[in-house]
C-alpha cells in the first residue's frame, strides 16, 4: 500500500518530481499548510517576494531564461488576483508557468468567505488551462496534468486552485509517470507534403524573408533557422519575441520588424515575394495595416498552434507543427534536392543588393547632441562593456524598444520582455527570476522611470537573495512612449505623462541596501556603467536621458509598415 500523505505533502512532492527547484511566493491563510510543508522540505528553494505580481513575473523570468516551467505559490483572494497581470503576461507570450493558488475550504466555496475569489473563473480567458481541485485523490494527477499542459504544445500558464481542506486531507500518493489527455494532443510533426510545397515556393522565389517569432525560442529552433538562412542565403527578421532566435550580429539579420522595427526589415518584408514565418503570430504591431502588409508575398506559416495561422493574415502554405521539427523537415528537403548553395546565392543576388541599399539608406541611428545623454548611447555602451554577454530584461515602452533596437541579441533566452501584453513593471521581477535560475550570468534590466516604480518593492527580494542585478533606469521624467504619441499625434498635448514626484533612485537604492549610481552627462555614462558592472550587489543606475528623445523608426498605429516616420 502506498504511503498516506496530506495534500500539502503531495503538492511539495509533485513539485520536486517535476524538477522544480525554485518557486516564488507569498504566504497567506489559505496556503499556510503548504508553507508548513515547505518549512520542512530540503531541495526546494522558496523565494519570498514583496507582492504577488512580482512572484508571477519572477516565475515567468525563470521560465523564459531557462525554458523550464516557472512556478509561483500564492494565497486565495487578493493573493490570487495579484498574480493575474503576471498570468496574462505569460499567456500572451506563451510562457510555461504553473500558478498554485490557495482557496477557501471546499465547503465555503461560493459563500463569499473571507479572502474568497473565483480565481479559476477570473483566469479562464488568460490561462492555457486551469483546475480547481476538489478532492485530495485528484491532486497528484491534476498537478502532473498542469505541468504537462504548461510545457507541451504552445506553452502557457496553468493555474491550480487548491482549497485549504484539500491541502489538509490525506490520501495514498500515486504519482502518474505518464499522462495522456484524450482531448489534448498537440501536433508536433509537420505534414510532409506541406513542407515540400513550402520548398517549391522557395525555389520559385526571388525575394524571400524568414520571419522569426517567439515560437523559435520556445521550441529551440534557433540552430535550424540559422542553418536554413545560411544554406539558402535568406535574410532574417525577427519579432520582439523572436529576438535571439537568430543572431542579431549575423550579416543576414535585418533586426526587428514592425512598429519600431528597422527601415530595412520593414522594406524587405513589404517588398518580399515569400515570407517564411516561423512561430510568429502576425500581431498588429508587426503587420501594421493588415491590408497593406507584404502585398506581393506568398506566406508559409509554421506554428504549433493552428489558431495562429490564418488569424490575422491570409496564409498560402500553413504548416502545423513544432517549429524545430518543421524546419528540420524543411532542411531535409533542401538537402535531399541538394541544389548548390551558389545557385541560391545567385537567385537572391539582386534581392540582397536591394536590401543593402535600404540598409545603407537608413541604418538605426541617433544623434549625440548637446549635454543630453541619449538612451541609445547608454544601451550601446552597456552592450560594448559586456560584449553582449548578458540576460537582458526590459520594462515596457521606450526603454523596451530602444533595447530591442540597439542590443544585438545573439542567443535565445537572453531577452525577457513582455511582448504581447506590454506589462509595465515586468522587467525587474523577471530579472529576479532569471538571476535566481542563472546565478553565474550577468542580468540587466533596462527600465524607465515610470515602469520601474510599478514593482520597485521587489528590490527587497533581490537584496534578500543577494542578486547582483543591474537595473539601468533610462530616466526622462516622462511616461515616454505615451508622450511620444502625444507629441506626434496629439499636437503635443502632454496629458498626464509627467510625474510631479520622482523618487531619488540613488537614495531609494541605498534605503534598500542596494547601490545607487547616477549619470547626468554623456561623459559620466561609461564610468558609471563600469562601476555598476564591478559592483557585486543590486545596483540601480539612474541615468538622466534626453527628456524628449523618441523611438524611431515608427509606423503610426493602423498604417502600412512602409509609412515609417524616420529621424
Amino acid at each position: 500500500m502506498a504511503k498516506k500523505m496530506t495534500g500539502a505533502q503531495i503538492i511539495v512532492e509533485a513539485l520536486k518530481r517535476e524538477g522544480v527547484d525554485i518557486i516564488f511566493g507569498y504566504p497567506g491563510g489559505a496556503v499556510i499548510d503548504i508553507y508548513d510543508e515547505l518549512y520542512r522540505t530540503e531541495g526546494l528553494k522558496h523565494v519570498l517576494v514583496r507582492h504577488e505580481q512580482g512572484a508571477a513575473h519572477a516565475a515567468d523570468g525563470l521560465a523564459r531564461s531557462t525554458g523550464k516551467v516557472g512556478v509561483c505559490l500564492v494565497t486565495s483572494g487578493p493573493g490570487a488576483t495579484n498574480t493575474v497581470t503576471g498570468i496574462a503576461t505569460a499567456y500572451m507570450d506563451s510562457i510555461p508557468m504553473v500558478v498554485l493558488t490557495g482557496q477557501v475550504p471546499t465547503k465555503l466555496i461560493g459563500n463569499d468567505a473571507f479572502q474568497e475569489v473565483d480565481i479559476t473563473g477570473i483566469t479562464r480567458p488568460c490561462t492555457k488551462h486551469n483546475f480547481l481541485v476538489k478532492r485530495v485523490e485528484d491532486l497528484a494527477w491534476t498537478l502532473k496534468a498542469a505541468f504537462h499542459i504548461a510545457r507541451t504544445g504552445r506553452p502557457g500558464p496553468v493555474l491550480v486552485d487548491l482549497p485549504k481542506d484539500v491541502q489538509q486531507a490525506k490520501t495514498e500518493f500515486h504519482w502518474p509517470e505518464e499522462i495522456r489527455l484524450r482531448s489534448y494532443n498537440p501536433t508536433y510533426e509537420p505534414n510532409k507534403r506541406q513542407v515540400e510545397k513550402a520548398y517549391r515556393l522557395l525555389e520559385a522565389s526571388t525575394r524571400p524573408v524568414i520571419l522569426v517569432g517567439g515560437g523559435v525560442i520556445a521550441s529551440g529552433a534557433h540552430e535550424e533557422v540559422r542553418e536554413l538562412a545560411e544554406l539558402l542565403h535568406i535574410p532574417v527578421t525577427m519579432t520582439l519575441m523572436g529576438l535571439g532566435g537568430f543572431p542579431g550580429t549575423h550579416e543576414y539579420s535585418l533586426g526587428m520588424l514592425g512598429m519600431h522595427g528597422t527601415y530595412y526589415a520593414n522594406m524587405a518584408v513589404a517588398n518580399s515575394d515569400l515570407i517564411i514565418a516561423v512561430g510568429a503570430r502576425f500581431d498588429d504591431r508587426v503587420t501594421g495595416k493588415v491590408d497593406a502588409f507584404a502585398p506581393m508575398a506568398k506566406i508559409v506559416h509554421i506554428d504549433i498552434d493552428p489558431t495562429s495561422i490564418q488569424k490575422n493574415v491570409r496564409v498560402d502554405i500553413p504548416i502545423v507543427g513544432d517549429c524545430k521539427r518543421s524546419l528540420a523537415k524543411l532542411l531535409e528537403v533542401v538537402k535531399s534536392v541538394a541544389r548548390p548553395s551558389k545557385l541560391w546565392k545567385e537567385q537572391f543576388k539582386e534581392w540582397w543588393e536591394q536590401i543593402d541599399i535600404w540598409r545603407r539608406r537608413y541604418p538605426l541611428s541617433y544623434k549625440q547632441e548637446g549635454e543630453y545623454i541619449k538612451p541609445q548611447f547608454v544601451i550601446e555602451k552597456m552592450y560594448e562593456l559586456t560584449k553582449g554577454d548578458a540576460i537582458v530584461s526590459t520594462e515596457v515602452g521606450q526603454n523596451q524598444m530602444w533595447t530591442a533596437q540597439f542590443w544585438k541579441f545573439d542567443k535565445p533566452r537572453t531577452l525577457l520582455s513582455s511582448g504581447g501584453l506590454g506589462t509595465m513593471g515586468y522587467g525587474f521581477p523577471a530579472a529576479i527570476g532569471a538571476q535566481m535560475a542563472n546565478p553565474d550570468k550577468l542580468v540587466i534590466d533596462f527600465a524607465g522611470d515610470g515602469s520601474i516604480q510599478m514593482n520597485i518593492q521587489e528590490m527587497a527580494t533581490a537584496i534578500d537573495q543577494r542578486l547582483p542585478i543591474k537595473v539601468i533606469i533610462l530616466n526622462n521624467g516622462y511616461l515616454g512612449m505615451v508622450r511620444q504619441w502625444q507629441e506626434l499625434f496629439y499636437d503635443r498635448r502632454y496629458s498626464a505623462v509627467e510625474f510631479a514626484t520622482i523618487p531619488d533612485f540613488v537614495k531609494l537604492a541605498e534605503a534598500y541596501g542596494a547601490v545607487g549610481l547616477r549619470a547626468t552627462k554623456p561623459e559620466e555614462v561609461e564610468p558609471v556603467l563600469k562601476k555598476a558592472l564591478e559592483t557585486k550587489n543590486l545596483v540601480l543606475v539612474d541615468i538622466h536621458i534626453a527628456p524628449e528623445e523618441g523611438v524611431f523608426p515608427m509606423v503610426p498605429a493602423g498604417r502600412a509598415t512602409t509609412e515609417m516616420i524616420l529621424v
Binding site: T120, G121, R124, P125, K128, H129, N130, L132, I149, L181, R182, S183, Y184, D305, P306, T307, Q310, K311
Partner: protein, 164 residues
C-alpha cells in the same frame, strides 16, 4: 460570405467546460445563435450543438479556437457535411378562444404538432422539425395570438452513408 454554421462539439463532462466555450465566444467577439448541451452515451463526455454565423475566416477561427480548448474532444462542422438531419423543438402557448380554437387545432394537424396542455383560453403546442418548419408554424400562429414560446435550440446529426 456570412453563413450559418451548425457545430457539433464533444467536450469533457467537467465543471467549467461549458464556461470555457461560452467565454471563448464572448471574449473573441463571436456569436452564438443557439446552444444545446446534454450528456452522451459515455457519461464522461457531453455533446454540444452550437449554431453560429460568420464568414469563412471567422468560422475557421471558431473551430480552431474550440479545438484548442483542453477540454474539447472533437469539433465537427455539420454544415460542411454533405447531408445532415437537424431538429429543434418548441413549446408554443397560443390563445385559443371560442372563435380560434378550431383554427389552432387545424394548424396543429397540418404541421403534425401535438397539443400538450389545454386551458379554457389557451392551447400549448409541441412542434418538432427543422428550423424552417418552426418558423412557418410560428408565423402562422402569430395572428392568432402567441402568449409564450420556448425553444430548445437546434440539434444536428450527420446522415449515415446510404449504399445500395
Amino acid at each position: 460570405m456570412e453563413r450559418k454554421h451548425t457545430l457539433s462539439v464533444l467536450v469533457e463532462n467537467t465543471p467549467g467546460a461549458l464556461a470555457r466555450i461560452v467565454g471563448l465566444f464572448t471574449g473573441r467577439g463571436f456569436n452564438i445563435d443557439s446552444l444545446c448541451v446534454a450528456e452522451t452515451l459515455d457519461p464522461t463526455l457531453s455533446h454540444l450543438t452550437l449554431v453560429t454565423h460568420g464568414d469563412e475566416m471567422i468560422i475557421e477561427q471558431i473551430i480552431k479556437q474550440l479545438r484548442r480548448l483542453i477540454d474539447v474532444y472533437k469539433v465537427v462542422d455539420v454544415t460542411e457535411e454533405s447531408e445532415f438531419v437537424e431538429r429543434e423543438m418548441a413549446l408554443i402557448k397560443v390563445k385559443a378562444e371560442k372563435d380560434t380554437r378550431a383554427e389552432v387545432l387545424r394548424m396543429c394537424d397540418i404541421f403534425r404538432c401535438k397539443v400538450v396542455d389545454v386551458s379554457p383560453r389557451t392551447y400549448t403546442i409541441e412542434v418538432t422539425g427543422p428550423e424552417s418548419k418552426l418558423k412557418a408554424v410560428i408565423e402562422l400562429l402569430k395572428p392568432l395570438g402567441i402568449k409564450e414560446i420556448v425553444r430548445t435550440g437546434l440539434i444536428a446529426m450527420k446522415r449515415e452513408k446510404k449504399t445500395v
